[in-house]
Symmetry: C2
Subunit: 379 residues, 2 copies
């Protein structure tokens, strides 16, 4: 009996959760209410009109129009997640053996989606340790190399707006400008940016935006993403079945046909509001980083940080693991004892975490907890 | 503010829901508890080991092994849904312009997935109105035609085990035997069979089984499906990224990374048990059909029905719509007044519904409701 073995989860209610995958996907009370109400299978299809994107009850169609406006784009489709949005663009625009250009800080799923599509990936390198900064100008260099090597321009350029390792924010407008000079479509992976900060696709010059509902739009534990498309690309990406003319091909008719769509919709008013407070999130994050650096827990990535997600390295914390009876797992347990979860168990020298949505009091508590651990256990 | 406009749902608590999409996906109380506990984003990744399918806490890996045994298959992957499982097989095995053979009762998503994969679909016709029976022997005929027309055998054969229109159950073993004679891989779409009735892929001779968590495994409103694979096909279907060696390509690393996986796991013990009572479900369905036929509401499809999902046609109910003040919507409202939902609003002459999971008392109530409507409103 598997059920009996499913431990119920207490990370959100009992702890301060700083897992970077999870802070931006936390649900609001209204969202939880909506999810529970739509908890059964295909519940969003009660008033189906033939396709999820045109459903009016609940108002999915209106919601998607609102999302397009919110992102400064023209058309939006629901996808099963951000990676599925990226794959949809790849699948629609490329053929196996085509070349695409992506930043080297990309999420693994960008690369795996590209492999699944059969395309060849050319990386735009970062400047490496310790900044891992992506210089937009290097996109022009790599595009030029692809042209030289293959005889053709790449079929797609992708930029990870904020990467999931260092939380580096790249100037997407500059990358877009380079793409447009070459006439190459530009996909912005906004998994860690849209839903947290203001994004305007038109202003940026993005042809496609892929977003993650469960990472950054408070859409909770259902798989959901968004693919927003600029008008001129609509007919290339949002193509329909020849036989079932309202069914978009790239989402096999309907994607998230259940409570995840409802969750995304229920959280949307909060998301629209919360992006106005992004500066405060960055301020919190910088404040904590400053405290941690005093302890010898040092931020890797572009400084000062421009995001709630940060990667740190720490000899101080690593050295404790050599003498602590819980070895490498000590940090996980010591933090848990102090009401904090979300750093990968076993890590001490290098790890990442996110302060998204935390109150000033919680930020102070986080700073205190690390200080207390270092003071109690550091030689 | 979209949230305010999301009507909360009352179909399950307040009504007898006979929507065929929804009866088999209804959650159990334990499932709901598990979903709520994992309601936040990426919650299943707390103890991530690098890929969803090998996670041991919660015990996803063990669960997938159990599912393989339950289905009489060798390997199982979580997918975002049944259609995504079908597309995964298509994408892994075929190239654009390849031919595949499917039954003409197939779900639209089978066709759309095939279009997305760029393959040419050859239909095995049913015997048409009123039975729409698929004769397994016709698979051999169509395979022969493909060979004649294209010079090659089809690359894949798909059978919809139970179709979603008429609830016809096809002898999958016979189709499998034909496929094996020709050496063509055989995909069984078990969206409306597995999770409801016993399925043994080995005994059937299925190379792949696609299943729907939210349609037939009580996995609720999160998108989730299963792709089970026979050993000899493992290396063709469950292929991994070259760079990220534990990330399966066809699910872009991880598929249902949230509460839907938990829901499927939490419901699994109940599903394993409930398939033992399939005969009772068929008996209930046949009992109701008998009562309805006395009223002039006639079952379309193979008779007597072998499934809880049935399609009916009824001149009696249609004629009422011509005199009822609610017109074609009368049936929806008259049923709702009698505590029943799930028949598509506006339909009277042809519609489908499902009695899955209903008690004998509810079956009697359904029979009474239709009788009462016909008696009160039929001339």
């Amino acid at each position: 009996m598997i059920t009996k073995e499913i431990e119920l989860r207490d990370w959100e209610e009992e702890y301060i959760n700083i897992n970077p995958l999870q802070t931006g996907g936390r649900t609001y009370p209204d969202t939880r209410k909506a999810i529970v109400s739509y908890i059964d299978g295909y519940s969003i299809c009660d008033w189906c009109k033939g396709a999820l994107g045109i459903t009016d009850r609940p108002p999915v169609r209106e919601f998607l129009d609102d999302v397009s406006k919110f992102l400064g784009m023209d058309y939006t489709m629901l996808t099963n997640g951000c990676r599925e949005a990226k794959f949809a663009v790849l699948h629609a625009l490329t053929k196996p053996e085509d070349a695409i250009v992506v930043d080297s800080n990309r999420h693994y799923s960008t690369y795996v989606a590209a492999e699944r599509a059969g395309v060849k990936v050319y990386d735009v390198p970062s400047n490496g340790y310790p900044e891992y900064r992506i210089n937009p100008d290097n996109y022009a260099v790599v595009i030029g190399n692809v042209k030289k090597e293959t005889g053709s321009l790449p079929k797609l350029v992708l930029l990870t707006h904020v990467d999931g390792n260092y939380g580096n924010l790249v100037d997407a407008e500059k990358v877009a400008r380079i793409c447009h000079e070459y006439g190459i479509p530009f996909l912005l992976n906004a998994a860690y940016s849209s839903g947290r900060m203001h994004i305007n696709g038109k202003k940026i010059g993005a042809d496609f935006i892929a977003a993650s509902g469960h990472k950054s739009w408070a859409a909770g534990g259902g798989n959901i993403g968004l693919l927003s498309v600029a008008g001129q690309w609509k007919d290339k990406i949002i193509t329909y079945s020849r036989k079932y003319e309202i069914k978009p091909l790239e989402i096999i008719g309907c994607s998230s046909r259940g409570s995840a769509t409802i969750a995304l919709m229920a959280s949307f008013p909060y998301v629209k509001e919360r992006v106005n407070h992004w500066n405060k999130e960055v301020e919190n994050s910088r404040g904590l980083m400053k405290e941690l650096e005093c302890l010898g827990i040092n931020q890797i990535g572009v400084k000062p940080t421009e995001h709630d997600l940060n990667f740190v390295e720490s000899e101080v914390l690593f050295r404790i693991s050599e003498i602590h009876k819980k070895k490498h797992f000590y940090l996980y347990y010591e933090l848990k004892d102090r009401g904090i979860v979300g750093i990968k168990p076993g890590l001490t020298r290098n790890f990442k975490f996110s302060t998204y949505g935390k109150t000033e009091e919680q930020i102070k508590h986080l700073a205190w907890a690390f200080k207390d651990i270092v003071e109690k256990h550091g030689n």
